[in-house]
């Protein structure tokens, strides 16, 4: 069966929340691809160079440590990506990404974005989670385009 959704777990204020990312339709997806090619590709190429020479982790502890280090390294790249966008581009990009994400609440799935507003209060002032979710959306939709393996290897703790 085709996989069109992906579950992501992320902690907000010590509480684990489950997010579900839906695949974008091909037309909106191709806009995302154009945008990513313009803005992200140079940075991803750089990230790949950063991680290229690393050896594969030997045990679980090493893998965890590697995941931690890489996550930190990715955060150092974020300012570079952000600097290449105007405010409108960034907001429209984030909105488009978050519109494909739902969060599991006790009452059921709730869209993270309803129109141009947040559909959950927790995310409203949580820049980190918003950026991580946007990354996950790009990775899930574009992974196959930019050579899924390399992109996935940037966040080894997420790939199983």
């Amino acid at each position: 069966m085709r996989i069109t959704t992906k579950e992501v777990k992320h902690e907000i204020d010590g509480q684990e929340m489950t997010f579900q990312i839906k695949k974008m339709d091909a037309l909106r997806g191709s806009y995302l691809m154009k945008f990513c090619a313009e803005k992200f590709l140079p940075v991803f190429t750089k990230a790949q160079h950063m991680f290229n020479d690393e050896e594969a982790p030997k045990n679980e502890e090493e893998a965890k440590e590697l995941a931690r280090v890489r996550t930190e390294q990715i955060f150092t790249l974020i300012p570079e990506v952000l600097a290449s966008m105007t405010e409108e581009e960034l907001i429209s990009f984030e909105t488009r990404c978050l519109q494909t994400v739902e969060v599991l609440k006790p009452a059921g799935w709730q869209p993270v974005m309803v129109g141009n507003h947040f559909g959950v209060e927790e995310l409203e002032d949580d820049i980190k989670t918003v950026l991580i979710l946007c990354y996950e959306v790009v990775e899930f939709n574009m992974g196959s385009f930019f050579g899924g393996k390399n992109l996935a290897s940037l966040l080894p703790h997420k790939s199983t």
Partner: protein, 143 residues
């Protein structure tokens, strides 16, 4: 000539329950919102001679009626909320809040402890109408 401005479109109405999510009711045009306090602010006690004691009372609770366009996002959201409340734990029952941010007047009304007084009436006609939600709130604060 002196004049003042009122604009319902500038009133941002937000409904939120931590277990359900958040919904901007005013996005699709809120229909009509009516808020009324349940209790009086003062009363008089009179004696046979006409002596009056003025009682100063405190009333913060009341009711709120929301008229929501049928089948709009807000309607769907509020239905989901009511459905959730029916099966939810008692301590999660009254966690909803409603905020009206009137930017034209510079007033923010915050209703907390919001619960549905009853389920909205159902009605089907040739054309859609508004669905009326009667809510009760435990406290309203005005800033």
């Amino acid at each position: 000539m002196a004049f003042s401005v009122y604009s319902l479109a500038d009133v941002i109405t937000t409904f939120s329950h931590p277990d359900v999510g958040k919904c901007i009711i005013s996005d699709e045009g809120g229909g009509r919102i009516t808020i009324s306090y349940a209790g009086d602010m003062a009363s008089n006690t009179t004696t046979a001679t006409g002596y009056v004691v003025v009682n100063k009372l405190v009333a913060k609770n009341g009711s709120c009626s929301l008229e929501i366009p049928m089948n709009s996002n807000a309607d769907v959201f509020l239905r989901k909320w009511i459905k959730f409340l029916k099966g939810s734990a008692t301590k999660r029952f009254a966690l909803a809040s409603l905020t009206l941010n009137d930017s034209a007047a510079g007033r923010v009304l915050t209703l907390t402890g919001v619960v549905p007084q009853k389920e909205p009436d159902e009605g089907y006609d040739q054309q859609s109408g508004n669905r009326q939600y009667n809510l009760l709130f435990a406290e309203m604060t005005v800033k």
